[in-house]
């Protein structure tokens, strides 16, 4: 194991600069990090160092940024504190920082809540695991409430438009969009159940296809999914869904089977 460990250790700098190539590499390194005190403290020092590099290119932001951020802050609910146990199990809360998967919020929240009901019946020795799931569920449900409010705001926006398209693989996809809010809400009905080894992944595709952004994975429940809220939509963006390998990909590997102007 020594060579593997040392090869992972050499990645501390690359990791601290966010320069690993794939999410899989990041996940692998973070597993190593959780076991390697030296690596963790080296990464911390490198991140502080990188921060100095970042501070050195500080720039006056555009004046519109402040009111835009403050406006969002006033209507954005905060995440609850993690309990100590969860904090120790997740030394690097990367997913919290890059909440791509959170986009599938409402559906996941529901699924977690259901799982939770089952898990709670389990035996004592699974209590630790249960508590961790509980704190995750709390986190998810808090997200969900905020998202539901945001979702309703899009649906009731004065400029809301609705497009439903039949997917060639079966089922329908509905997009409600508000240009003023730069947000869309996506729901699906009757998309085929997935074979193992495939996931539905959501994308926003910019004008001329030159800005493709993953908006997380879809978790259909009884053939229905959503509503999923997608923010930061720009004029000309197209919303699309592809079938991708488990965990999703950084960019689509196939053309979307459904594409709707966002």
């Amino acid at each position: 194991m020594a060579p593997l460990r040392s090869s992972q250790h050499a990645l501390t700098g690359v990791y601290a600069l966010d320069a690993l190539d794939t999410d899989a590499e990041v996940a692998r390194f973070e597993r190593h990090l959780a076991r390697c005190q030296n690596c963790a403290s080296e990464v911390r020092g490198f991140q502080e160092t990188a921060t100095r590099l970042g501070m050195a290119v500080s720039r006056q932001p555009p004046p519109a940024l402040r009111p835009a951020v403050m406006g969002e802050v006033a209507r954005t609910r905060q995440l609850p504190a993690l309990d100590d146990q969860a904090r120790h199990r997740r030394p690097v809360p990367r997913l919290t920082w890059r909440p791509r998967l959170a986009a599938a919020g409402a559906a996941i929240g529901l699924a977690v809540a259901i799982t939770l009901g089952v898990v709670l019946v389990n035996t004592q020795n699974e209590l630790g695991q249960t508590q961790q799931q509980l704190s995750q569920a709390r986190h998810q449900l808090a997200l969900t409430k905020t998202q539901l409010a945001a979702i309703n705001a899009v649906r009731t926006a004065s400029d809301a438009t609705l497009v439903t398209k039949a997917a060639p693989i079966g089922g329908t996809v509905t997009v409600v969009s508000s240009a003023a809010k730069r947000q869309i809400v996506v729901t699906t009905r009757g998309l085929p159940a997935l074979r193992a080894g495939k996931v539905y992944q959501l994308w926003l595709i910019g004008t001329n296809g030159n800005r493709i952004r993953s908006e997380g994975l879809l978790a259909p429940h009884n053939g229905r999914s959503g509503p999923v809220l997608i923010s930061g939509v720009l004029p000309g963006d197209i919303f699309g869904i592809t079938l991708e390998p488990p965990g999703g990909t950084v960019q689509p590997t196939v053309p979307p089977f459904v594409a709707i102007p966002a």
Binding site: A19, V57, S58
Partner: protein, 192 residues
Amino acid sequence: MRASEPEMPPPEGGDQYLNGLLARVARGDQAAFEAVYDNLAGPVYGLILRVVRDPAQSEEVSQEVLLEVWRAASRFDPAKGSAATWAMTIAHRRAVDRVRSAAAAAAREQRTVEVPVPHDAVADVVEASLDAERVRRCLDGLTESQRESITLAYYGGYSYRQVGERLGIALSTIKTRIRDGLIRMRDCLGVS
């Protein structure tokens, strides 16, 4: 240490000051968040602009990041680093996500979008502040390939594989170049 003398607030702009503000933000204090904004919006926007390059997109990503600072303030743990580092780490990750997805899309269309990387990336870092001057001096103290690897990865948002390809250097070598360079930078900047 400072907690024993609560009547003396920590100096504005320092680590302790920001950490304290973030603890208040975690409890939903919007006034504290405004102070956090005043301290961090410039660095966050500057870094994102440096990586993303397009001002409109940079503004959008900055807004996402600053909102995330508000939303996730309770997840900040001062035992694991300073508040500035926590926020700047989020900013850098989001900026990198943005350029990688844009670059990937461009590559799919077989169009090469050469993101211009100034040959003398160091000169570009020059800023009026003393801290920036110090960073510049420390970057100057690296070997050329350490400096190129670090600036391409951090300011350019390139993955280490891409850095290796651009510089014609093996992947395993890039890893150590970046690590050795960061060790030197860390020591030069006096990061504990």
